[in-house]
Amino acid sequence: MSSLTEKSRPIVQLLLNTGTCPRCILRFCCVGSQMLYRHPHKDLMKDLQEFLKNSQEEEDTVCLDVADPPYKRIRLEHREEGADDLNHNGAIPQLPSAGDGNAAMESSAGNVCNVCLGILQEFCEVDFVKKVCQKVNSADYQFTSFVFSVSLPPQLSVRERAAWLGVKQQMRNLGLPLPKDDIIQLKEAYKWIIHPQLSEELGVPADGKSLFEVSLVFAHPETDEECHFLATACPDCFKPAKNKQSVFTRMAVIKALEKIKEEDFLKHFPCPPRSPKNLCDALEIQCNNGAVFVAGRYNKYSRNLPQTPWIIDGERKLESSVEELISEHLMAEFKADSFNFSSSGREDVDVRTLGNGRPFAIELVNPRRIHFTVEEMKRLQQAINDSSDKIQVRDLQLVTREAIGRMKEGEEEKTKTYSALIWTDKAIQREDIAFLDDIKELKLDQKTPLRVLHRRPLAVRCRLIHTMKSEYIDEHHFRLHLKTQAGTYIKEFVHGDFGRTKPNIGSLLNRTADILELDVESVDVDWPPTLAD
C-alpha cells in the first residue's frame, strides 16, 4: 500500500507551488487509496498544506510508519503557524521556503490545475454529477448498470509528462533519488471519484461489462495547440488527417510522447506546465445501449412482397417489404435508433414461404427499452400478426448475438423443401413424369443465374436435389415437390436458364418447361427454439 511519505515532500512542494491540484499531487505521489481521492477538494488542500508545514517540525518521526493508512499520514495534528515554521534549517536539503509555498497554495486553491485542467477538480463535484445524471435520466433508457467512458483532450498527456519531467528535474537539482514513475492514471482516479457518485445518483452499479454506456467528451480549446511541437519532434507519428479532423489524436500524441527524448521535450515545453486560464469544457454527455437481438420465424403469403425495400433511383418499386413489416413494430416497442435484419436464406418477391416459416433475426441498435417478459413478446408477436396478412411471425423471442451464428449456419447447410407449379410446351401424360419420383440425389451444375449475374460473380455451383414427388395436373401442368440442398436455384432447375443449369426439368422431360409458381414448404433449420403457444 502506498502512502504519502517523506520522499514525496519535494514533489508535493513543487507541484503545489506550480499550480497542481491536490488530487493530481496524490497521483504523482503514487497514492493508491481510492477513498482518499473522494475527500472534498478543500480538505485535501488543507491536508497537503499541513503535511508540508508539519514536516518541518517533525523531521525525525514521521512518515516512516508505513502501517498507517495513507489518509492518516497527512492528517497530522494541526499546529499553529509560528515564525519558526517559515524558516527551517532542516537536515534535509534546501527546499523552497514554506513561506513561498503558502502564498502559492492560497492562490492555487482557486486556480485550474495545470495538469488535469479541472477534471479532478470541478468535474468531480456534486453539481456536475447531477448534470450528467439529469442528461442520462432525460434520455429515458432502461438499464440495470452502467459503464462510464471518458474522452480526454490529448494535451493532458503532454501536461502529465511535463509535470513529471519537472518533478524529475527538481529531484536531480536537490540531489535526491528519482522517484518511482508508476503514477496513478488520471482516468483511473477520475473514475474512483465519480463512479460511486454516479452510481448513487442513478441507483445502479458501475460495471465494466455493462451494455449501457454513458460517455463524456472533454475538450480544452485554449491549449489545443500544445501538442503541435510533437509534430516537429516526431513527424512520423502524425499521418495526414482525413476530413479536416485534427492529426493530433490521442493515440498519435501518446505514441509521440513514447518516442520523444527527454531533452527534446524539455526544450519545447515548460516543465512543469503553466496554469491555464480556463477549465475544460464537457462537450457531450451521450448515452448508448448495446444492441438487443430478436429472433423468430416468418411466413410470407404474398407473391408481391420483396424481402428488403425495393428502391431504384430513389423510387420505391414495390410497397413495403418483409423486413419492414416485422421490424416496424419492434423499432417502436424497443425504441431503437435502427435495425439490421437477417434471415436464414431468402425467397424472391413472387415466392411464398409456408410451413414453419423461415428463421430470421433482427438486431435493434441502441434500444431505449431492453426488458421484455415472455408475455410481452407474445403480445408483440400478436401485434405484428394482426397488422398484416402478407406476413406472419412465430417463435418471437429475445436471443443473444452468438445465437445469430446458428441461423446463418442454417443458410448454408440445411435442406429446404419446395413446391413448384410447372408448365410444359409439349403435352405430358402421367407416365411421362412418374420417373421423377424415383430420382434420388440428383446432381446439378448451376451457373450463376442470368437474373443475378449483374451483381454476383460467375461461378458454377454443384447442388443436390435429394428427392422429388410429382403431382399430375393436366397435359401441360404438374406440381413438383422437391427437397434440395441449401443454395439451390429452383426456378433455374425448372426452366434451365438458357441451358446453364444442367440437368433441368426441360432436359429431363425432353420438353421446354417453365415455372409458374413456387412456394417454400419448409426451411429445415431448428433454430430459433419453438415456443409453446
Binding site: 451457373k447 442470368l450 437474373r451 449475374l453 449483374h454 451483381r455 454476383r456 460473380p457 460467375l458 461461378a459 433455374e492 426452366h495 434451365g496 436458364d497 438458357f498 441451358g499 426441360g506 421446354t512 418447361a513 417453365d514
Partner: protein, 174 residues
C-alpha cells in the same frame, strides 16, 4: 421458359451483310444481355449445317479465355472479376462459324460491355445453335456499364421495328 424476363432488341444486316441479323435479349434487371442469332440469320435457314464454331477470333484473342471465374458471392470479388473481363464494342467479333457449304459467318457483340461468358454448349453441340437459337443456343452474355444500360438499346430495333424490316425484305424480294 427463361426468356420471358427478357426484352428483345435487334440489329439487322450487321456490317452490311444481308440478313445477318442478331438479337440482343436484355434482362428486366436492365443489365445482363444475351446475344443470339435472330430468326432471319442465314445459319438458321433449313439445309445449313454447321461445320465449325470458333471462339478464337485472332492470334491473341480467344473469347474462351475470358477471365471471369470465382467461387464466392462477395461483392468485392465480383468487381475484381468484372475488371478482368474483356471489354467489347458493338462490332467486336464474338465467334466465327463456318457452314459445310463453305460460308463463313462472324457473330458480333452488337452492344458495348464486358464479356461475361460465351456459350460452350454450342461447341460440343452445334445443332443447339440452330434448334434453340433464342435459348440454349445463345452465343454470349455481355454486361454493359451501369451508366450505359439504357443507351445501349439506342442503336437497336424493337421487335416491332424488326418485323417491319422483315416485311420490307419480303416485299422487295417479290
Amino acid at each position: 421458359g427463361a426468356e420471358r424476363y427478357f426484352t428483345r432488341w435487334y440489329k439487322p444486316d450487321v456490317k452490311g451483310r444481308p440478313c445477318e441479323d442478331f438479337c440482343v435479349l436484355q434482362h428486366s434487371n436492365r443489365r445482363i444481355c444475351v446475344i443470339t442469332l435472330a430468326e432471319a440469320h442465314p445459319l438458321l435457314r433449313s439445309g445449313k449445317t454447321i461445320k465449325n464454331i470458333n471462339y478464337q477470333i485472332s492470334a491473341n484473342c480467344s473469347r474462351l479465355q475470358n477471365k471471369v471465374s470465382g467461387k464466392s458471392k462477395r461483392t468485392c470479388l465480383f468487381i475484381f472479376q468484372m475488371q478482368g473481363a474483356q471489354f467489347l464494342t458493338e462490332l467486336a467479333p464474338l465467334c466465327r462459324i463456318s457452314s459445310s457449304d463453305g460460308e463463313e459467318y462472324t457473330i458480333y457483340s452488337c452492344i458495348r460491355g464486358r464479356l461475361i461468358e460465351v456459350n460452350e454448349n454450342i461447341l460440343s453441340n452445334p445443332a443447339l445453335l440452330q434448334e434453340k437459337p433464342s435459348t440454349e443456343g445463345y452465343i454470349a452474355v455481355v454486361l454493359p456499364k451501369f451508366e450505359e444500360s439504357k443507351s445501349i438499346t439506342q442503336g437497336l430495333l424493337t421487335q416491332k421495328e424488326y418485323e417491319e424490316v422483315l416485311l420490307k425484305r419480303r416485299g422487295s424480294a417479290s
